[in-house]
């Protein structure tokens, strides 16, 4: 059973590593968490993003949430804001896709085109 004692040990180790984050310029990943997002499956996506970012120890990345983005039919929606490029909006994101977004976009800097809203809309029009 986990206890708060263990948390204290984690804290002491973390303080030794001096990983107190540099705030400011970093990448922000935002997940739409209004009723529409939650009903479409945003919670496991948000959880997967948090887990992936922490597993890879990406200290300049924050994962946060927002309300309804206004395109409920495309939820779960994930937006990536980075200081060096334009906002990228991913639509109908699954936890598996979230893993790829972190690996390819956040770590390697290549947005996953086939998950973006632009690509999605184009496919819809082509039909």
């Amino acid at each position: 059973m986990k206890s708060l004692k263990e948390l204290e040990e984690i804290r002491n180790k973390a303080l030794c590593q001096i990983d107190l984050r540099k705030k400011g310029e970093g990448i922000r990943i935002v997940v739409g968490m209004a009723t529409c997002g939650i009903a479409a499956g945003a919670r496991p996506v948000l959880s997967a993003l948090v887990e992936e970012v922490s597993r890879r120890k990406l200290s300049n990345v924050t994962v946060s949430q927002t309300g309804c983005i206004g395109a409920c039919r495309l939820e779960p929606i994930v937006e990536v804001y980075s200081p060096s490029s334009e906002k990228v909006t991913y639509v109908k994101v699954s936890p598996q896709m979230a893993g790829r977004i972190v690996a390819e976009h956040i770590v390697n800097g290549n947005p996953v085109t086939e998950f973006t809203i632009g690509y999605h809309e184009q496919q819809q029009q082509g039909r």
């Binding site: 059973m1 986990k2 708060l4 263990e6 948390l7 204290e8 984690i10 804290r11 180790k13 973390a14 303080l15 990983d19 107190l20 984050r21 968490m33 209004a34 009723t35 939650i38 009903a39 919670r43 496991p44 948000l46 959880s47 948090v50 887990e51 922490s54 597993r55 120890k57 924050t62 994962v63 946060s64 949430q65 309300g67 309804c68 983005i69 206004g70 409920c72």
Partner: protein
């Protein structure tokens, strides 16, 4: 909404967008009644809004005129032999009290409460959350204020900390509800 943990997350999101700094979630299973109470210290609602909030055609968002969070939750409560009560006062906060028949055939399952709590705690560093869960004599509580005090400046989203919180919640809730889906 597939389960009650998603409804709880949805209501807690409302609390956060109402500017709450503390949200308490209390889940109690006792003598065939499941009680879920969610309290916040956000900006609250006027009496006028409180009366109308269960209507799907009432919302404060500006992207569209429909708000389904509370009506869907209320419907699930009523369908399982209970109900949903909203009390609120401007500037003081809002309380949602949901009751459901524990063994009622139409009651949605409780779902993954640990994930709901973890997601709330880990992605809202500026707000605090208290979760208490009990079934008969078994109790579990989780309080981000205590966690943050123990951490003393180390961020809650620090990798080892977030892994700890996930496990801590999972194990604690398993103890209360016996690991079975309720």
């Amino acid at each position: 909404m597939r389960d009650l943990s998603l409804h709880i997350l949805d209501i807690a999101e409302n609390s956060l967008s109402a500017g709450s700094s503390l949200v308490t979630i209390d889940i109690k299973a006792q003598s065939d009644v499941l009680t879920i109470r969610i309290c916040d210290n956000g900006r609250g609602m006027s009496e006028y809004m409180m009366e109308r909030v269960k209507s799907p055609f009432v919302t404060t968002r500006k992207t569209r005129d429909i708000g389904l969070g509370i009506p869907l939750f209320a419907l699930n409560c009523e369908n399982s032999g209970g109900g949903l009560k909203v009390t609120s006062a401007p500037k003081e906060g809002t309380q949602i009290l949901a009751t459901l028949g524990l063994s009622h055939i139409d009651r949605p399952p409780l779902g993954d409460i640990a994930q709901t709590a973890a997601v709330l705690a880990l992605t809202n560093e500026n707000a605090d959350f208290v979760l208490t869960a009990s079934r008969d004599e078994n109790k579990f509580s989780f309080d981000t204020r205590i966690i943050k005090e123990t951490l003393g400046g180390v961020p809650i989203s620090q990798p080892q900390v977030s892994a700890f919180i996930h496990q801590y919640l999972q194990e604690g809730l398993k103890q209360v509800f016996g690991g079975k889906e309720i």
